[in-house]
Subunit: 241 residues, 2 copies
């Protein structure tokens, strides 16, 4: 039985199978050993995610080895600017992450939950980005998200992970170690470019490896072509029917 | 419950989540409405695939709406050249496709099965490609696959589909309608470039639409952000818990 790796998150997860996407790269990486299941909900914050988490994963019947929980980019939208609708206070963000974790753990007791912090915000990139939300035109000239706010949510996410003994990927810090992260990793100040996707993919692969879910640790589904005996190929399949 | 779309095939399926891959594009297309499940087995022909089909799909517990069955590129390897091991005679290829279809239909009676023909072969591209199979060094200077052989398997695939009332994607014919298909769509004379992947993706989307599995026909999983009432967002989730 192939295990599944579930990606639960907001738009950065929903678009993870787009060009150069971290989800597609994961599915490619585990092409013979695990299913990568997409559960990304654009625009969602943890308040809404916590409410729907049970339903979001209800149709996943296979054994789930790991879930990435990647929220916070919308929670961190400022409460007095254009995307106020999405804002969730910091304390509630932490409670919601705990509730999501508890729900996943109840459903799959041995599941590895990996929390991912919100990415950094490039405020200049946000301002250049034409707002896609029909009701959110804001003429203040101020971005609806700031990197300082994202920082607070990233720290909170790491703290929840530490308290509960979970793995965390601090993508907020990781990305900012690269000079030029603003335009290199973020296409609109928030969502990932193909290069940004690559950084996240690497971090997820590393976290999965750390959780004993590396390629080497997972058995390949059915015999690899290179292991098939050329003199008696059908023999390789005799115990697979 | 999200339905699943299963991709069952050889290496062209196994690598469908690589750069620009048709599988990743499908998963992106259906990101909120269906799961795309990868069951690609590099090097496999229909003889081996028919033996393992039951096991390959055993772990898929969700409702499966459609399966693409994409074999023939290996069956069509010539019996007297470097990849003879993979060769399957034409009549057996057809029997194996029927057996795979019967197995899928028994497991999911209302499943839509889409047969995909092998792609065309660019013999020049094959000869330039360093053979990756350790035991298959062939000093004849002749390619192990020819476009004429692929044509016969493509026709047989279309014929099986017609006889059994299945949808078929004749990617062998479709690709050759484009001048320069040899290098534009095939990276090594057989496997798809990102542009070749795009052609196949379009055909699969069209076939799924024809089977009433278009984006419009499938409900979105959980409320879309654009449908959430900004004055009372939580209301949208009240019946989703």
């Amino acid at each position: 039985m192939r295990p599944s790796i579930v990606l639960f998150g907001d738009s950065i997860t929903e678009e993870a199978f787009g060009e150069g996407g971290w989800g597609a790269s994961l599915a490619n990486h585990y092409s013979r050993s695990a299913d990568v299941v997409l559960r990304g909900y654009s625009g969602y914050n943890t308040r809404w995610a916590a409410r729907v988490a049970g339903r979001a994963v209800a149709s996943i019947a296979s054994p789930v080895s790991a879930v990435t929980v990647f929220f916070g980019a919308n929670d961190a939208a400022l409460p007095d600017r254009a995307c106020a609708l999405q804002h969730v206070p910091l304390a509630e963000y932490k409670d919601n992450l705990r509730a999501i974790f508890a729900l996943l753990k109840k459903r799959w007791p041995s599941v590895v939950v990996i929390l991912i912090t919100p990415p950094p915000v490039d405020e200049d990139g946000r301002l250049r980005n034409e707002c896609r939300y029909p009701y959110a035109h804001d003429f203040s000239g101020l971005p609806e998200r700031t990197n300082a706010a994202a920082a607070a949510y990233a720290r909170a996410c790491v703290e929840v992970a530490r308290q509960w003994g979970l793995r965390a990927i601090d993508i907020w810090s990781r990305m900012q170690r690269f000079p030029g992260w603003e335009k290199s990793f973020l296409r609109d100040g928030l969502h990932l470019t193909p290069r940004g996707n690559r950084v996240l993919f690497e971090e997820v692969v590393f976290a999965l490896k750390d959780a004993n879910l590396s390629l080497e640790a997972l058995p390949a589904d059915l015999p690899l072509f290179s292991d098939i005996d050329p003199d008696n190929p059908v023999k390789s399949f005799e115990d697979q029917e």
